[in-house]
């Protein structure tokens, strides 16, 4: 029997009803457009997608598009997203985080989720500052950047992508909120990737980060695709690129290494969703005998 013709998904399917709480000019708008564009490009209907987010301005993104949404706790989108994917592998699960959410409060989950390699896409909006709480330093804030809570200047920044390379994250990319076409393409690649796809997004915070502005990034970002001979399968080269920060900042796919996914490893890949499965108490009759 021929499969039922799927209705064409258009950008209108993702137009939200609710009003945004972001500041005018926020980098999040570019990211939102890139997400919508990527999903339309992949011809995914909103009901096929589950977006899981934490807390912060980045984490509000799912409210401004259309999809199934679980907007949970600060730093905790990954455990919830992983479990949702394991319970229903039919869902395309995208987790959404800011730099505080992903690398501060959620640092432990970040490490272990990368390690497990579930089939999720993780978008981390990195504006190098805590926006929602009004401008404190984040784990990725540049050294010496002063804020009200960090009058001596922020301490050494972590390099999350290098951490991800060290953990053999199966897909690592970096995009820029000011380049929607390129970012949408990276997001689409991430969603298509089988395994955990980390996409870090450079995102200017127009209210609290007066250093890492659109212009600051535009002067520095370059695309790895344009770099002749760069091989995202070369882990040592990826590690170097993941550490590159300052005058030149690489974007594009930094590392890719397909390996077994967590869903495959624990044997849930390809299983039907458990949501409406008939539950039968008598299925455990045999177990009772072990105790008699």
């Amino acid at each position: 029997m021929p499969a039922k013709q799927k209705e064409k998904v258009t950008i209108d399917d993702y137009s939200p009803a609710s009003e945004s709480a972001w500041c005018p000019g926020c980098g999040n708008f570019g990211i939102l457009r890139s997400v919508d564009k990527a999903l339309v490009g992949l011809q995914l209907a909103p009901h096929e997608v589950l977006m899981v987010s934490g807390i912060g301005q980045a984490a509000k993104l799912p409210h401004y598009t259309r999809a199934n949404v679980f907007n949970g706790l600060h730093g905790r989108p990954l455990p919830a997203a992983l479990a949702a994917k394991m319970v229903n592998t039919d869902l395309v699960v995208i987790a959404e985080s800011g730099d505080g959410d992903a690398y501060g409060e959620g640092g432990n989950h970040f490490l272990h989720t990368v390690n497990r390699n579930p089939n999720l896409t993780y978008l981390v909006h990195n504006n190098q500052v805590y926006g929602l709480t009004k401008g404190q330093a984040s784990p990725t804030t540049d050294l010496g950047f002063t804020t009200k809570m960090n009058p001596d200047g922020a301490w050494v920044a972590m390099h999350p992508l290098a951490v991800a390379v060290a953990c053999d994250c199966s897909f690592i990319a970096r995009g820029f909120a000011g380049d929607i076409e390129h970012l949408a393409d990276l997001i689409a690649q991430g969603v298509k990737h089988k395994g955990f796809a980390l996409i870090e997004i450079l995102q200017p915070c127009v209210s609290f980060n007066k250093k890492n502005t659109y212009d600051w990034y535009r002067e520095r970002v370059y695309k790895l695709e344009d770099e002749k001979g760069y091989d995202p399968g070369d882990r040592a080269a990826a590690f170097q690129k993941a550490l590159e920060w300052g005058d030149k900042i690489p974007t594009g796919v930094i590392y890719r290494n397909e390996r077994e996914t967590f869903d495959e490893y624990v044997g849930v890949a390809g299983q039907s969703p458990v949501m409406k499965e008939k539950l039968d108490p008598k299925s455990i009759t045999g177990l009772l005998k072990d105790f008699i």
Binding site: L50, V69, P79, N88
Partner: protein, 575 residues
């Protein structure tokens, strides 16, 4: 004649104390006896001193006895620690070559070269445990064939050679004990027909309850005393399509369980107090997002790491108040393994029906103890998934309101991916459609909607058990694992001419205040008995009913309540 025999097996961690206890308990159950076996061990892998007590009775028994009729000493320290606990006419079994000189207190003794017999008769020092168990049964003149049957099962998976070795060891130990039995030792135990009951621990019963209830997702970080639940489910779960994930921490575990619950799986976490501390934020998340999740909170002695392998009932008020903000929850505290099974099933039903977290309060004493239980009637297990959208309803592309205002406060639930309707859930205060709001009116309506579920839960919560005695002078009031000890204490007091009722709570929230108030009317003095220092149930009763307790018997040394302890303290402090 009614039997009530208490055998204590003591030794170092790693010596096989638990395995001797387990073999004895099983052999006794097979002979038709009721058994209660509990564990006392230190937080270490090897060394130290631990013991297991196997209480064998012709009547149902659900609490430990402090005095032993027989002590099986696998090391010298056991003799020092437990000699004074042996009842008159009781006996101690020890291996004089290992433990040194003969215990010189006026008790009967059997010096048996356990290790030598194991090595010479069975060819392996690993059989010492079997020699010890068999010697205990030989003294009692119990049926050796029953023991052999148990050993066949116990060691069957290790192959015939190991089984035969153990049987040889058992025969040798049994015969030695019979031949060298002190002539003054008169205790005998006759094996009858098997009762067909199960021997099961509280933790195993929780795990079986979860499986029977259709749990499909479990996440946890190992922590005493709840780890065995995770391990049992990890072992059997695959067969029943239960995904068990060892999370990186408890924070992750609860967020995973909430994520799985949101996506349509019956989900559970199992932890203890310290782990539950970390889960509290996630508990609130379940409350706000109205996601069903079952939490097993295995209590141990706190605060902080406390006595990690010992018991306490110190977390009733914590479980009740845990979480920021206000939201409904269900709290049950099973008294024994049988209730652990049924209340776990109920917890899953309450969680889904009311789309709220449900907490099962166990403690080390209940969780790690073995009980004889009539096999669970699986026909009687009812699964209630609550108000779910049909696939047809969920496929309507129109706006689905995950948090629709309803009279019951329960909004029909759809799962992401079930249909075209989008499911939006939020930890922020939200609209009926699940989107973030800030306005006062929606906030007020949402709070009221959530709290209406508490009213529904209130009607579902089970009543406390009342064991009445005519014109009782005292009400002995307790909760959770201590019921067996309290009931037994009431019988002992009765024999001493003190008439007391027992009131026991195994469901604690929503608190069944009305029925309690009705039953407390009278002249009896209310004595609350708990394994904590501050009298948490007493405080809860006072908060919910304005009735002040008249007395409080507390145990907080990490050891379980026993009838002897209760009676002693009753006579000293209350009577």
């Amino acid at each position: 004649m009614s039997t009530d025999l208490n055998i204590l097996v003591g030794g170092e961690a790693g010596q096989g104390v638990q395995s001797v206890g387990s073999v004895l308990a099983r052999a006794m159950m097979r002979g038709g006896y009721e058994v209660f076996a509990d564990q006392d061990f230190e937080s270490r892998i090897r060394g130290g001193n631990s013991f297991t007590r196997v209480r064998i009775s012709s009547d149902p028994v659900q609490s430990p006895l402090e005095k032993a009729d027989m002590v099986v000493a696998l090391n010298a320290e056991t003799i020092d620690l437990h000699l004074s606990e042996i009842r008159g006419g009781g006996i101690i079994i020890y291996d004089g070559e290992k433990t040194g000189s003969k215990p010189d207190k006026g008790v009967l003794t059997l010096d048996i070269p356990i290790e030598k017999i194991a090595e010479e008769k069975a060819g392996s020092l690993r059989m010492t445990n079997t020699v010890a168990s068999a010697a205990a049964l030989g003294l009692l003149d119990y049926d050796l064939e029953i023991l052999i049957g148990v050993l066949r099962e116990e060691y069957g998976r290790h192959g015939d050679k190991v089984v035969e070795g153990n049987i040889k060891a058992a025969k040798a130990g049994y015969e030695f004990a019979q031949q060298h039995r002190p002539k003054d030792y008169t205790e005998r135990l006759k094996a009858g027909k098997s009762s067909g009951k199960m021997l099961i621990s509280g933790n195993e019963a929780v795990a079986l309850g979860a499986l029977a209830a259709g749990c499909r997702f479990v996440a946890g970080y190992p922590m005493t005393p709840s780890t065995p639940i995770l391990e049992y489910l990890a072992d059997k779960g695959r067969e029943f399509r239960v995904l068990v994930i060892q999370a990186e921490d408890e924070i992750s575990a609860i967020n995973m369980a909430v994520g799985a619950g949101f996506t349509g799986a019956r989900s559970m976490v199992a932890t203890s107090g310290g782990g539950f501390c970390l889960m509290v934020e996630g508990l609130s998340l379940a409350g706000m997002t109205e996601t069903p999740v079952v939490i097993v909170l295995g209590q141990r002695a706190g605060p902080s790491t406390g006595l990690p392998t010992r018991t306490e009932q110190g977390e009733l008020l914590f479980a009740l108040h845990a979480g920021h903000g206000e939201f409904p929850r269900f709290i049950a505290a099973p008294a024994n393994a049988e209730e652990a099974f049924w209340l776990t099933v109920k917890a899953f039903n309450m969680a889904e029906k009311y789309q709220s977290p449900a907490i099962i309060l166990t403690d080390h004493e209940m969780a790690d103890s073995y009980y004889t239980v009539t096999p669970f009637d699986l026909d009687a297990v009812v699964i209630e998934r609550g108000d779910l959208l049909t696939d047809k309803e969920a496929n309507k592309a129109g706006e689905y309101k995950r948090y629709a205002y309803t009279k019951s406060g329960i909004s029909p639930r759809a799962f992401p991916g079930q249909g075209k309707a989008l499911v939006v859930a939020d930890s922020d205060e939200h609209s009926e459609a699940g989107h973030i709001i800030e306005d006062a009116e929606t906030r007020r309506l949402m709070v009221e909607k959530r709290m209406r579920k508490h009213e529904g839960l209130q009607k579902e919560v089970g009543e406390p058990a009342f064991h009445h005695r005519e014109k009782a002078k005292f009400n002995l009031i307790g909760w959770g694992s201590s019921r067996g000890a309290i009931e037994e204490a009431a019988c002992l007091l009765e024999a001493n001419g003190v008439s007391a009722c027992v009131i026991h709570f195994n469901e604690l929230w929503p608190f069944p205040a009305e029925v309690l108030v009705k039953n407390l009317a009278g002249v009896a003095k209310n004595i609350v008995i708990e394994s904590n220092a501050t009298g948490q149930l007493g405080r809860l009763i006072r908060t919910e009913t304005s009735i002040k307790m008249d007395g409080h018997i507390a145990r907080y040394d990490g050891r379980p309540l026993s009838a002897e302890y209760i009676v002693e303290h009753f006579e000293r402090e209350v009577a």
